[in-house]
């Protein structure tokens, strides 16, 4: 029996990634990392900044996301996100830019606890990519 399912990542501008031969996806869900295999129960959840790991027959890929929402249904995983970057494409300067932005956000004093938490997450994840 095949253990594959379909993943589709879309951002507002375009369909970012479509793959049919995915074995496992690990997403940074809001309440902790979550691995999704075939025949997972239907679930809707949203993401915090982190790395999406896609394991597929045609190779593994990592993506950095800042936010998003995932829906898994009938072995279709849809990830909607407004900011996503492939880790391999993420060069030093781009990463530095994002990091600077996140750090500036995190150091603001008047933001809410949740926004602060998210910004801290961004900083942490971006630093860990190196």
């Amino acid at each position: 029996m095949s253990e594959e399912f379909k993943i589709e990542i879309v951002n507002p501008e375009k369909s970012f990634l479509v793959k049919e031969d995915v074995l496992e996806v690990v997403v940074p869900a809001f309440e902790g990392e979550m691995g999704i295999l075939k025949d997972h129960i239907s679930i809707i959840s949203f993401l915090k900044p982190g790395i999406i790991k896609v394991f597929s027959k045609s190779g593994d890929e990592n993506y950095y996301v800042e936010d998003g929402i995932i829906e898994f249904k009938n072995n279709n995983l849809s990830i909607l996100t407004s900011a996503i970057f492939s880790v391999t494409d993420l060069d030093k300067s781009k990463q530095g830019d994002l990091l600077k932005k996140a750090e500036a956000e995190a150091s603001k004093s008047e933001i809410s606890d949740q926004a602060k938490y998210l910004a801290d997450q961004k900083v942490e994840v971006l630093r860990s990519i190196n």
């Binding site: 507002p12 809707i44 829906e71």
Partner: protein
């Protein structure tokens, strides 16, 4: 009758106008292709977003305490209308069509004795509306400096709307834009985004979802995003429509200019011939009288 010189000048000026309209048409055609592509590429996102929200709102157990962005404030007093137009003119009926649609909606609302607030996106809409509804316009947003519609701009508009909603400044929000159907047809649309209109309540998915965290929190997180997404969709459709509309308008203008040049050329030749004939008659009758 205009003199020969005047005619010649007019022909030259119509010809140069034709050149301009022709160039504009080509530019619009090139831009249209890009705008159309991005409109089509943007559709999956907003469709999926809609789907998820539909599933979520079907799954929500406690309708009374549903987030206000979904269920509305329960009142129907103050209407906020977001009129999205272009920043540039010379695009046929593109802006006027949106404005016409919006104006008929405005007068309906005002006749019902409700309060009206307007946000204009794009300077052309503001220009046309401020004469009649100037006192109702509370904000004017324009993205002249951004070349293409991008999500960042849409998000800005979305945030403004949500801020105002949370401050209780309005109950119902409707956006006006042109939906791109094809190059010659653009349909002006009025879409209600707050509260979310769940008319197509096809409850086909009995499948229950697992939510993490719970429905309310996801909805609270998702609904503001959905507003931005809908606005972004409207912006993409609008920019495709604008280019399409401009292209057909400029095509017409080029054709009209061609017809005008033909007509003027005939007139020019006729009056040239008339002048020659007149001179001949003068010479002949002069010779005869001798």
């Amino acid at each position: 009758m205009a003199s020969l010189d005047d005619l010649k000048k007019r022909i030259a000026s119509v010809k140069s106008t034709q050149k301009i309209t022709k160039a504009m048409k080509m530019v619009a055609a090139a831009k249209l292709r890009r705008a159309q592509e991005s409109a089509e590429r943007g559709r999956p996102y907003s469709e999926k977003m809609n789907n998820i929200i539909l599933n979520l709102s079907n799954g929500i157990s406690d309708k009374e305490n549903a987030p206000k962005l979904l269920s509305g404030t329960g009142k129907n007093k103050v209407h906020l209308c977001v009129v999205m137009t272009s920043d540039r003119g010379l695009c046929g009926g593109f802006n006027s069509n949106i404005i016409k649609k919006a104006k008929s909606y405005f007068s309906k609302i005002l006749n019902e004795g409700k309060q009206l607030k307007i946000i204009t996106v794009g300077s052309k809409g503001n220009d046309q509306l401020k004469r009649v509804y100037g006192d109702k316009i509370i904000e004017n947003i324009s993205f002249k400096e951004s070349k293409n519609a991008n999500y960042f701009d849409a998000d800005k508009v979305g945030r403004i709307i949500i801020e105002k909603f949370e401050a209780g400044e309005f109950d119902i929000c409707t956006i006006f834009y042109n939906q791109f159907k094809n190059v010659i047809t653009q349909l002006p649309q009025a879409q209600q985004i707050i509260p979310l209109n769940n008319e197509e309540d096809h409850n086909n998915s009995d499948q229950s979802y697992e939510f993490e965290p719970d429905e309310d929190e996801i909805l609270n997180n998702l609904l503001p995003k959905n507003i931005s997404t809908q606005i972004f969709k409207a912006m993409l459709e609008n920019s495709a429509s604008e280019q399409g509309s401009r292209m057909s308008a400029m095509d017409n203008a080029t054709r009209n200019a061609g017809e005008m040049v033909d007509k003027l050329t005939i007139e020019y030749n006729r009056s040239r011939q008339a002048a020659i004939t007149k001179e001949l008659i003068e010479i002949i009758s002069g010779a005869e009288s001798l």
